[in-house]
Symmetry: C2
Subunit: 530 residues, 2 copies
Amino acid sequence: MQEKLNMTMKCENFVVNAIGRRVPTIVNGQPVIPYKGLRQHRPTGRKYAPPIPTCIDYPDDGNKVVSSLAEAFKRCGLKDGMTIGTHHHLRDGDLVNNTIFEIAHQLNVKDLVWAPSASFPCNEPLIEHLQNGTIHHIEGSMNGDLGRFTSYGGMKGCAVLRSHGGRVQAIQDGELKIDIAVIAAPSADAFGNATGAEGDSACGVLGYSLADMYYADKVIVVTDNLVPFPCMPFQIQGNYVDYVVVVDKIGIPEKIVSGTTQVTKSPDRLLLAEWTAQFCVEAGLLKDGVGIQTGAGGTSLSVGLHFHEQLKKTGQKARFGFGGTTQYLVKMLEEGVLDYILDAQVFDLEAVSSIKRNINHIDLSVFQAYNYHSKGNYTSMTDIVILGATELDTQFNGNVVTHSDGLLLHGIGGWQNCLHAKCTIIPVPLFRDRIPVIVDNITTLCGPGELIDVVVTERGIAINPLRTDLLDKMRGTSLPIVTMQELKEEVDAICGVPNKAPISAKDEDTVAIIKWVDGTVIDSVRKVLE
Amino acid sequence: MQEKLNMTMKCENFVVNAIGRRVPTIVNGQPVIPYKGLRQHRPTGRKYAPPIPTCIDYPDDGNKVVSSLAEAFKRCGLKDGMTIGTHHHLRDGDLVNNTIFEIAHQLNVKDLVWAPSASFPCNEPLIEHLQNGTIHHIEGSMNGDLGRFTSYGGMKGCAVLRSHGGRVQAIQDGELKIDIAVIAAPSADAFGNATGAEGDSACGVLGYSLADMYYADKVIVVTDNLVPFPCMPFQIQGNYVDYVVVVDKIGIPEKIVSGTTQVTKSPDRLLLAEWTAQFCVEAGLLKDGVGIQTGAGGTSLSVGLHFHEQLKKTGQKARFGFGGTTQYLVKMLEEGVLDYILDAQVFDLEAVSSIKRNINHIDLSVFQAYNYHSKGNYTSMTDIVILGATELDTQFNGNVVTHSDGLLLHGIGGWQNCLHAKCTIIPVPLFRDRIPVIVDNITTLCGPGELIDVVVTERGIAINPLRTDLLDKMRGTSLPIVTMQELKEEVDAICGVPNKAPISAKDEDTVAIIKWVDGTVIDSVRKVLE
């Protein structure tokens, strides 16, 4: 693996894919499949099959505790070129990810692949390990400083960005083989059963590590709260765990979950939220039994509040709310306007506490919520999702990872997965810092326009022409229904047509690829010129 | 597959295995591995990898309901020689298993393999389908009439008996490939999420179907209680389900779970229970934090009651109780002498109701509890298990499937798995119906004597000589400590040395094999001569 990584170009054999983007067919020495269009790529073959373990190799008393993470890595046979899977449930309070690569560096291991379910600003120290050769490339999100570093071409390999569902699909399908998974756990027992619901570093759930638990060859649980066997109710099953490491602190509690999540106070954003909610009511989307995902951004939260009020007013009840959980969703559950919270990650303290006390606050895995290589998933059964975007074009194609300056500053998260909902609504301002959000050519194409149904801006609401049903329903509304072209002209009149970002045109300057939910490559990201 | 099954002998190439039993190395045309001794067989290779599915092939609205089970079978491509996996949570009230093969017969499908997690007397009608060629053989337990039929050589193929953990191991390892799993579910939604906790046919949990859910190529959920999506809290995940079938009735409630489980009233059995409990106390086994499995037999339940009293009296607390759950275990939990019920199957109504109301009554899977090809499992961490046996020899080897008359009347259940506990105690009467339980040569060897620690009879308690620690601890006890040889002599003096059972001595008369927890063949069962 190592030789292969070093000997090959980051990306080779470029083609134009089905949505008109230039993408490589070889990435980090491995073949990849260009995007073929919606519902066009049918996987062949079988799921990844981890080696069969035996109880012979594990202690009868169930005590898998070893003295340190370095010791666990040695026993796992950590070596050059391996892939390390981690989760992001500790969010910006995570103290484990940086430690992993610090240890790998001390052990003089090179060219590792880091495959986190997401990265956060706190992971900035990993730039050093990308520079000193410990990490070859990242398969995961590239937020903030890591993104800037990647955009300027600092990474040895090519970054691979996947949605939350895409990561699970890739691990399940053997496209992303996790050699060693490290699962930071707020509470765990010596056998490796673990939960995120208890402990000083409580983060609620650990569902993003389930794929790693099932499919990684070796699994290490790292905890700062060792409890007597059995750690119940389990979220991680010790039967899949090789070693348990006890450390002083896995995270900084106040950075793991916000004390509270807050709705926006910006009058512009409040208007977007109000219009979005009104749209959902008038289009008949917000109905009894509705399934919703509103997310945790300030605007989304405000939309959620409107939904709450509306349901209460009409005596209706939402069936399920899912995605990252906040105090607002918990309030809906506890006030009886919502039957179930289906929880894949937790954003605030109230949500952490709720998962322990509310039986209808359910720990849902990413396999269930988002995996496209599954016998169906929850996204296509969700009635309304509210998402963001950094850029949209007049064909409703969306970007969520780069900004118009070309910098890769965000992960895909569940965005691509959620696009499969029955109605995808993106409330966005027409421009940010005088840079248009609606443009002719988006910097990076993360989601095809066919899946984006409604764009709500402060100057009007554009409905995708493919959604003739919605256009029909909104005839005669008092809401300002416009076209994307009109929005584009309006923003150009305000901001001027934007300059092209200073991005390299060369194939060899590809710094990252964007995978679609089916594992194909929907776009590539080029180096930003300094 | 079909041709192979028909063309080969049931069993071929016999050898004597490491525990001295004559076993085949080819069964139903497939190679099998003879038992190598405890902790000697190390698996190679990888887990079974099911085909990768895609959401493209499943309805966006999540509605997988088809008109009938026959229709579901057609869509699954049911054909000759396939293996059908089912669970036994509906116990003797099951109405689904017989229907499956009735339909297969009507569809003129032949030579199916039935792989249930257990069978019950209610499955007697399947004898017809074993006779008419619909079912080639059974991989699972052979209770009552099915066992008698098998013992007299009625089955076309060779039956394969596995423990509960062994079934999961075999499915996981690809040794037992489930083509189509049929999961009878007391409640389910149209997407296939299902639970055993709710509905007229409630059976508590559905954990025995998890292996089928994960590894079968096609999965059908059959329910008599279709609920709105999402059916929560889920035990079966719709993401693994192909079709949902709604029928009038999946089971007969009063036969699914007993209204109540009852302790023994027999004075002899009460004595065994009392001595067993006293032994555990005096040997220091019943201590604070103890993990126990007492089972649901009348004697076991009585042992459990003694444990309850003893813990209460001494102010100690058991950490976990597992195995089949009864009202008595629920009472321990609710009276605070037990921290957790780890539940793999439910035996009575009180246990069904408890799983809904007690957060510390946990739905534990067979993967977690019993799978030997796992990174450890719960059995070796359990302090005390109380088991039964049909026969024991003076080397402490045990039989749990056949009687001294050679008839195969019981499944292995969790028996082999539980032998791995820290202390395995078997309370048995010295004889039943004047037939000795302790014999020179057991009819079928299901568990090696090294793992059976204590045998409690009405004439004394034998401690395995390997357990010098227990022998030491019990020095000076008032309990009658004896040797197995003494017990054997005593029973022979009462009953006379038993006649040899009328069993065929011919290899070609092998009707069943017994797998060990690691997938090797520990013994074979010969035809009973009429």
